[in-house]
Structure formats: C-alpha cells, structure tokens
C-alpha cells in the first residue's frame, strides 16, 4: 500500500506540475545537449573506425615518381610490413558536360580483378571497373552527386596530355577519400575535384606506367613501429623520387577528418559541460528556493515525529521524480536530435553507414549529474528547515528585517512610490537570493550567447580570410613547378587584369623534437593578392630573408622569432635547410610558412620557379578564362575565391552552425525554464503579502507591479551580466577549439547579444504574464483565514 507521505509527494508534484515541467525543461536542455553531442561524436568515431576496419584502410602511404614493379617484393620484405599494394595514381583534368569551371580528378588504379586489398571500395551504385573495355571508371560518390552523374554516363578526361572518353560504371566511396580535397585547397569542393578508380592495366597504359608504380599503400603488423617502417620505405624509394612515406597522420583525408572530429569533440565536450553545469546550478538554486517555501510543512512532519532522514528522503524523491522526467525528456530529445544530426554527418562525410547509438553510459552520466545537482539543492534546504526546532519552523519566519534602501538613503526616496520602495527594499534585504536570481538569468542569457556566437565568429573569419587577406578572384595551380613564362601566358588571357605568382613547397618543419608537415608559400614581394596580417589586422610584407609562420603553427612547434627552423623539403631532391623565423602572422584557416618568392627560390636553389598564380579578372570574362585554362595542360586546378567562400560556408553551415542551432534551441528552453521558475517561486513566497495588500485596497495592477517589477529588475540586471559570462564561456570554448584546419576568433556581434536578450525578455514577459494571471486569482479570504 502506498504510504501517505508518498501520496503527499505525488500530489505535491501534481500541484506544482507547471513548475516541475519548467524545471524538467531546464534539465532536459542540459541533458539533451550532452546526449546529443556525446552520442553524435561517439557514433562518428565508431563509424569511422568500423569503416576503416571493414574497408581495410591502409596504415602507411607513399607517393613517388616511378618505380619498377619489382620493388614491390623489396617493400614487402621490410620488417613490420604485412601487406603492400602498389598503385598507379594519375592527375587528370576533366570536362563535365554543362559545367564550365575547370574540374580535376585523381585517378587511382584498382587491381584488374576487382577490389584492392587495402583501401577497398564500397560500391554505392553500378560495379567495379573492368580492364577489358579500357575506359571504365568508378567515380567518388561526392563528385557523382555534385554533378548528378550515374553509371552509364561518360566524361572527357585529359590524362598525360591525351584526352579520352571515360565511361562511368560505378559510384563508390572509400576510407582513403572520405574527405576529398583538391591539392592546394583547404576546403572541399565536390564539383571541382573528384576521385576516380580505373583498372590498373588501362590506367598504366594511359599514364606510361606499365610495369611500374608511383604510389604504394601498406598494412603494418600490429607490433610494427611506424617511424621505422616509414624510414625503411624512404630508404628504398628515395631514388625513385619518393616525396616521403607517411603514416595515417599525414594522410590528407584522415588528417582532415581527425582535425574535424577533434573540433567536434571539443564542441561535444564544451557545449554540454557548459550547458549541464548551468542547468545543474540553476536547478540547485530553483530547488533550494522551492523547498524553502515548504518550511512549514517540514515543521509539521517533524512535529508528528517524522525523522529528518524521512523528511529529506520525501523531498529528495519528489525532486528525483522531476529529475527523472527531465532526464527522460532530455535523453529522448538528445537521442532524436543526435540521430538527425548523425544523418547530416553521414551525408556530409558519405559514410556507407552510420552506427548511431546512445550508449547507456552517456545517458547515465547525464542523469547522474542532474540528480546530484538537484538532490544537493534539496538536501541543503530540507536539512536547513529540518534542523530548526519544529516550533520555530512553524512560526512564521520573524518579520524580516528591512532597512531603508541605499537608494533612499541617497535621497532618491522622494522620487519613489511606496511599491517601488518595496521592490528595492526587498531586493536589498536578501542580497544573496537576489544575486542568485540575477546569476540565474545571467546564465540563461549566457548559454544563449554561447549557443549563437559561432556564426559571428565564422562570419568574421570569412570576412578576414576571403575579403581582407585574399584579394584575388581566382587561384590557378600548376601540376609541377613552372617558369615565369606560365604566369605570362595566364596574363595574356583575355579578361585577366593582373597576376601575381606564388611558389608552394611541401615541407616538414622541424624544431627541437617537434615537427609538422605543411607547406611554404612563396609570395611576391609587396604582393597584393595574399595579404598577411597580424592579430591586430595590420598588413605585414614577406621579409627579404627568413620565414613567417602562422601563429598556430609557431605555437605547435614551440618556436619563436629569432629561432632557426629546419625545413625538410618534400619534393625534388628533398633538401634540408635552416631558415630563421622572422615573424608570426595571424591566420584563422590552415597553418603555413610564408617566404618571399625570391628567397624561397634561393633556398630551393632553383631559378624563378612558380607553382601557381593569383589573378584578378573582369567578372564577365570568367567563362572565357575557364575555357582557355582547359587548353593549358599544366594547370592542376583553379579555385574561385567566391566559390571557396561558398564552400567554406557549406562546410561550416553543415557542422558548426548545425550544432550551434540545436544548442540555441536547448539554450532557449533553459532560459525559459529558469525565468519561469524564478517568477513562480517569487509568487509563492510572496502571495500572502501581496494578498494582504489587495485586502488593504491595492489594485491587481499595483500588486503585480510589486512582484513583476522585482522580476523585471532582476532580469534586466541579469542580461548584461549574462553578456559578460557568455563572452567568457565563449572564450573558454574557443580555447579548446583550435585545430590545424581552423581556429575561431572570439567575435560576438551585437545581433547575438540582442538575440540572447530578446529570448530572455520574451521568457520573462511570458512568465510574468502567467504569474500575473495567477495574481489576479489570489484568494484573499483564504489568506486572511490562515496565519501569517
């Protein structure tokens, strides 16, 4: 049989269902963020790992000029190498019907008999290419869907200077190219770049690689030491023009994926930790006040002989019911939002499947955090009430000691009406309670700012990168280093107004025991197309000697101005040079070293070689330029600045902003829950006093003013504080969110502040309206009959 105390608990719960629901909502907001973020991240990682395993993603990779197939056996003999697969990889420029901009592709050989051993293909449509026809290809799914291509369609591709018609027989994905990045680009453009697979024999024939290979991938023994194997491969292949073997860490797709996941992981930690702690804190405050209003009932139960333990448990179980509701709502919402977000990621990364799951530990952790927060709130308050001798607790709390308020002492009293004085005195009388309410509102406001400001940071970053720093209309990269003549042929094209050459040298940067693979960009002295900026957005020119490093890179290497950087070039004869670091520049996207073009050429001991040009052109000449570029076989690719900008937004929008959007919704529910609860508790704490005023002849409007005026003061005080807290939380979040891909500056637009303030104000108005309706129905007679 259900005990009367349990019955009381259930009835009390029902009696405060509105408030209970609002508390549960705050909790649900925190829990949902946690469950969503963590489960999406865990699912993505699990999917990645599973995909890698199921499709035999290689452990080590090497590219070279050309080596005889006989070297394969030698490579296989390297201790630690379990499997080696040699391949031919060819660059091709591609023409897609109806798409005028230049398109490039990497064509990877696939064994004539079908599936490779490593980096296997997951065929989404059609089948693998057979060698017989000589022109069959499988294309990457991202490229296929960007252009609407399907098996049966065909493309024109220029391989090794010869144009051929290729027939698409299949659409596939592979762990090797989850992140498909055009050489030289940092943001994927699925239309401008594709990955194709072709049977080895016809590809080797087309690329003059019969009996030879220019790429190999390796599976290592579990016990193998990767650096040793890499060294051994390098030793064997150095004379075949290898640019250096590497493990997964430097594999483009893997690396970018890792960096993105790192970023996501940061968000998946920071957002929920911030949200959940805010929810926990607010819950604690709300619950303490709620229990404080039950002081009298605690005393009665004590008078009957209920033990403090039994009473504490009574309230703990009440709160646990609410917590359970909140956690259940949060877990359900988090799981479904997580599932929705996962499918967005699945589309974006084109995983063959998404292993979405909410692990019980995630759900349990979130529920536990909330329960602890809630219960500690109850515990303290009930304990405080139960500790009082019951006689004292049952007495109305002695008339609170009010003082003439500070404002009145300042002489402003005459300006204030009696109700205004009541508001001010009440706020001053319980500074801690007032402060906690203000902090509550502030946190609600802060989570809104935190949920929303990412867009501002992204806008700022884009503006700086694509408008202030990058000034060109188009960037053209060549397949190999070329002479300045290439630049002049570009300048000669109709519509091109201005060109500026650059040289890109892939290199491994070393300092002390740290090293990092990236590239050096050689820029024209006093160039105008790629401006380097300091943190305070001042333009710096490349120095005549020495190298400038992106600040994030300098940080990673632990190198400072004046130190000597060791540069191991990853092309040609792979020279190793020492270059002094002469400065750092601030960049939010990517990490590079910058040198003056002549200095870089000197360092490379080469003539005035360039690997690409930045150009500006008449906007109406673009199509013509694209057509002309297709005639220049050396062109590896071209990126349009505006296209890059769009791609960046597409990438961003799908990830960070998506994340931020959900968090904003959750933040909104937290904000409303907090403010509504504050209002309701204030009402129950003061309904007697307000009813007495009604009895004395105050109007509904006047007593509403006293209560809602206080709420308004607390809300208005909380908002600016919320801005400050939100900004600090944002800074904290960004500190953890720094990857090689992008870093985000802490930029919060007025509109974000305005948005946060608006949500808080709307919540306050809505809460105020509900409370006002309750005030209108205060039972005056009941108040007079019960004791004060």
């Amino acid at each position: 049989m259900i005990s009367s105390l349990t019955l009381k608990m259930l009835r009390d719960l029902w009696g405060m269902k509105g408030q209970a629901f609002a508390i549960a909502m705050v909790l649900a907001g925190g829990v949902a963020t946690f469950v969503m973020s963590r489960s999406v991240f865990e699912s993505l990682t699990l999917t990645q790992t599973t995909f890698y395993r199921d499709y035999q993603f290689a452990d080590a990779f090497v590219s070279l000029k050309r080596a005889p197939e006989s070297m394969r056996t030698r490579l296989a003999e390297i201790p630690g190498v379990q499997t080696v697969e040699t391949r031919v990889m060819a660059q091709a420029s591609v023409q897609v019907l109806g798409y005028e901009q230049p398109v490039t592709a990497i064509i990877v050989s696939q064994p004539d008999h079908g599936q490779p051993i490593l980096n296997q293909l997951h065929v989404k449509a059609g089948e693998l290419a057979s060698p017989a026809a000589g022109n069959e290809i499988v294309i990457s799914e991202a490229f296929a869907s960007a252009h609407g291509l399907k098996p049966g369609d065909s493309l024109l591709a220029t391989i090794n200077g010869r144009q051929r018609r290729l027939r698409i027989v299949g659409v596939a994905i592979t762990p090797e190219f989850i992140y498909q990045l055009q050489p030289g680009a940092i943001i994927p453009d699925f239309k401008a770049f594709g990955v194709f697979w072709m049977a080895r024999t016809p590809l080797a024939a087309a690329y003059d690689m019969e009996g030879a290979f220019n790429n190999a991938v390796f599976r290592l023994d579990a016990a193998a030491k990767e650096p040793d194997v890499v060294k051994a491969i390098d030793l064997l292949l150095a004379r075949y023009g290898s640019v250096g073997a590497h493990g997964r860490y430097y594999q483009t797709s893997h690396r970018y994926l890792t960096e993105e996941f790192k970023g996501l992981n940061q968000m998946a930690i920071m957002f929920p930790v911030i949200f959940l702690s805010v929810a926990a804190f607010l819950l604690n405050v709300v619950v303490s006040r709620l229990i404080a209003t039950q002081r009298e009932q605690v005393a009665i139960l004590k008078a009957f002989g209920y033990t403090t333990g039994a009473i504490v448990w009574h309230y703990v179980s009440l709160i646990l019911m609410i917590t359970a509701l909140g956690a259940a709502m949060g877990i359900a919402a988090g799981a479904s939002l997580g599932s929705a977000m996962s499918s967005v990621y699945m589309d974006y990364y084109r995983f063959p499947y998404m292993l979405f799951h909410v692990s019980p530990s995630i759900a349990l952790t979130a529920s536990a955090i909330c329960s602890v927060a809630a219960v500690s709130g109850v515990f303290y308050s009930v304990y405080a009430a139960a500790r009082l001798p019951p006689a004292e607790a049952m007495q109305p709390a002695p008339p609170a000691r009010y003082h003439v308020s500070f404002a009145e002492r300042m002489g402003l009293g005459r300006l204030l009406s009696q109700p205004s004085r009541m508001i001010i005195r009440n706020l001053e009388r319980r500074p801690v309670k007032s402060m906690l309410s203000v902090i509550g509102v502030a946190f609600a406001c802060a989570v809104l700012v935190t949920g929303q400001f990412f867009g501002d940071s992204a806008d700022y970053l884009v503006d700086l990168q694509f408008r202030v720093s990058q000034r060109d209309d188009m960037t053209i990269t060549f397949i190999e280093p070329a002479s300045r003549a290439a630049m002049h042929s570009v300048l000669a094209m109709r519509g091109v107004n201005y060109v500026e050459p650059f040289r890109n040298v892939p290199a491994d940067f070393r300092f002390e025991h740290r090293h990092f693979r990236t590239s050096i960009q050689g820029l024209t002295p006093n160039g105008n197309m790629h401006r380097l900026l300091t943190r305070s957005i001042k333009q710096v020119d490349t120095p005549p000697d020495g190298i400038l490093l992106t600040d994030h890179l300098a940080g990673m290497l632990g190198i400072g101005v004046g130190d000597l950087l060791t540069v191991e070039v990853l092309e040609g004869s792979r020279p190793v040079r020492q270059v002094p670091v002469v400065g750092v520049v601030n960049e939010w996207i990517g990490v590079y070293g910058y040198m003056q073009l002549p200095a870089l050429n000197r360092m490379m001991r080469e003539g005035s070689a360039i690997t690409g040009v930045y150009l500006t052109a008449d906007s109406d000449a673009q199509s013509q330029i694209f057509r002309d570029l297709k005639e220049i076989p050396r062109v590896a690719g071209s990126t349009l600045r505006l296209q890059a900008l769009r791609n960046f937004y597409d990438t961003m929008a799908q990830q960070m902003l998506f994340f931020a959007f959900f968090n904003t919704i959750l933040a909104g529910s937290i904000a409303f829950g907090v403010i509504y609860n504050s209002a309701r508790i204030a009402l129950s704490e003061r309904s007697r006093e307000l009813a007495s005023l009604r009895v004395l002849g105050y109007t509904r409007g006047e007593i509403s003013f006293i209560l809602l005026g206080e709420l308004a003061v607390l809300t208005l005080a909380g908002i600016p504080l919320g801005f400050v807290i939100g900004r600090s939380l944002g800074a904290l979040m960004l500190m953890g969110f720094q990857t090689e891909l992008y870093r985000f500056p802490l930029i919060i637009q007025h509109s974000t502040y305005a948005f946060a303030a608006t949500v808080v104000l709307v919540s306050a108005l809505l809460s105020g309206w509900i409370v006002r309706r309750k005030l209108d129905h205060l039972d005056l007679v009941a108040v007079l009959k019960t004791k004060e």
């Binding site: 009957f304 209920y306 049952m394 009959k785 004791k787």
Partner: protein, 244 residues
C-alpha cells in the same frame, strides 16, 4: 477531598518542570518568554493554560511537546529528562507520546482528511484506525475531503483526529478554537473533552479565552513568563454549556 485532589493522588505525574526558562534571541533584542516555571501535570487531567498574547504559554507548550528546548531549568516526561534529550529522542518522543493540535490546523493541503490522519498512524506504534479517529471527532462522512473542501471547524477536528489517532499519552493544543467562531469552537472542544474522558489522555489546552477554562480540571494562568495563578475547577462545565 475535591474530585481533582482524588485524581492527583491516584495519578502519576506526567510532566514535571522546574525553573523552566526560555530566551529567544531575535538578533537585535532578547525576548524572555519563560522566566522560571514550576509545573506538574498529572495523568488524565485536562488543563487549560490561560494567558494573554506574549505570556509564554505557547512556548511552554512547545517545550513540553518536544518542539523546542528550554534555555535553562529542566522538564521531565514520565521521569525522562526532555531538557537534555537529543534530536533523535525528541523525534521518538513526539512520534509515540504526543499529539498536537494547532490554531491553524496545519493540515497538509495535498492530502485528504483520512490521509492526513494516516500520515501519523503509519509511523505510530499502536494507533487506532484513521477512520476510527475521524469518527471520534464526528467526521466519518468527510474522510475523503481535502482540507480546502472542509470548514475551519472540520479542519480542526481532522487535526484533533490526527493528534489522537496514535493514542498519545498527552495531547497538546495551542489555541485550538482561536480561528473558529464560538459554535464551531464548541464542537471542537467537545471532541477534545470526549478524547480526554474516553481515552484518558492528559490534555493541555492553551487559550486566551477565559470562558474555555471552565471545562478544565485545572486552570493555570500565565503572565509575562510566570505562572501567576493556579486554580482548580470544582464544578467543571461541559463544553456545550460554554459560550463566548
């Protein structure tokens, strides 16, 4: 020998208090609520404590009931010292020996009349059935009503049922009719009188209403924290004979 002296010589002492003092520290002022009370209450008697507001009668009742502690002096309940008892023993004492009735009933609004009684019987050793307790105060037909659906007098009778349902040795009532009109108050007093007679529960009623004193065995006057006068009613009136 009067009826009362017979009662006293037959009956044992339930409460034995000596030099009981209580000081409330109200922050800026100290309030001396009890300034040295000597008092014995006997088993089965109905005592009315009379006094004006602030005379210390509620404080005395709270100390006797284990709701509060004296600042100095000592008080025994059936030989057990309440002054030095810890919180756990006071809880035990209240749970098994004392029934309270308060001026404002203090029912739990979320529970029905029956449940308000059950909440006490569930933790008592040898309680009567809640229905029985409610019948005793004449509320057998209101058991499923919530406090908000009951009149003041009915609520107070539920409170009495709640107080007696555990079969306490003592029943302590703080202004039980204070919030009621006279007709309703008399119904409540009848319930108290009946409990005292039928169950033999030692009953202390505090009030500032001198008329009520006529139903007591003994009347104790308090003023300013002292017992100023004790008198024995040779002729007790029945509650229905009272009026105010």
């Amino acid at each position: 020998m009067s009826a009362l002296s017979a009662l006293q010589s037959d009956q044992k002492v339930v409460f034995h208090a000596r030099d009981l003092r209580k000081v409330y520290d109200m922050g800026e002022v100290q309030v001396h609520a009890l300034r040295g009370i000597d008092l014995d209450l006997f088993a089965g008697e109905l005592v009315v404590m009379l006094g004006a507001s602030g005379s210390g009668k509620s404080t005395l009742l709270n100390i006797l009931g284990g709701l509060d502690r004296a600042t100095a002096g000592h008080v025994e309940y059936l030989g057990k010292d309440l002054t030095t008892a810890d919180d756990r023993s006071l809880t035990e004492y209240r749970r098994h020996h004392v029934g309270f009735v308060f001026q404002f009933y203090n029912l739990i609004p979320s529970l029905t009349a029956l449940e308000n009684v059950s909440i006490v019987t569930e933790i008592a050793n040898n309680p009567m059935r809640p229905q029985e307790a409610l019948a005793l105060v004449g509320l057998a037909d209101r058991m499923d009503h919530f406090p908000s659906q009951l009149s003041g007098g009915q609520q107070q009778r539920v409170a009495i049922a709640r107080a007696i349902a555990k079969r306490p040795q003592v029943l302590l009532c703080d202004e039980p009719t204070g919030a009621l009109d006279s007709a309703t108050g008399i119904v409540v007093l009848e319930a108290l009188d009946r409990v005292n007679r039928e169950l033999g529960t030692t009953t202390a009623v505090i009030t500032h209403n001198a008329d009520i004193a006529q139903m007591a065995h003994r009347v104790i006057h308090l003023s300013d924290g002292h017992i100023s006068e004790v008198h024995v009613n040779d002729q007790r009136k029945r509650p229905e004979e009272l009026s105010w």
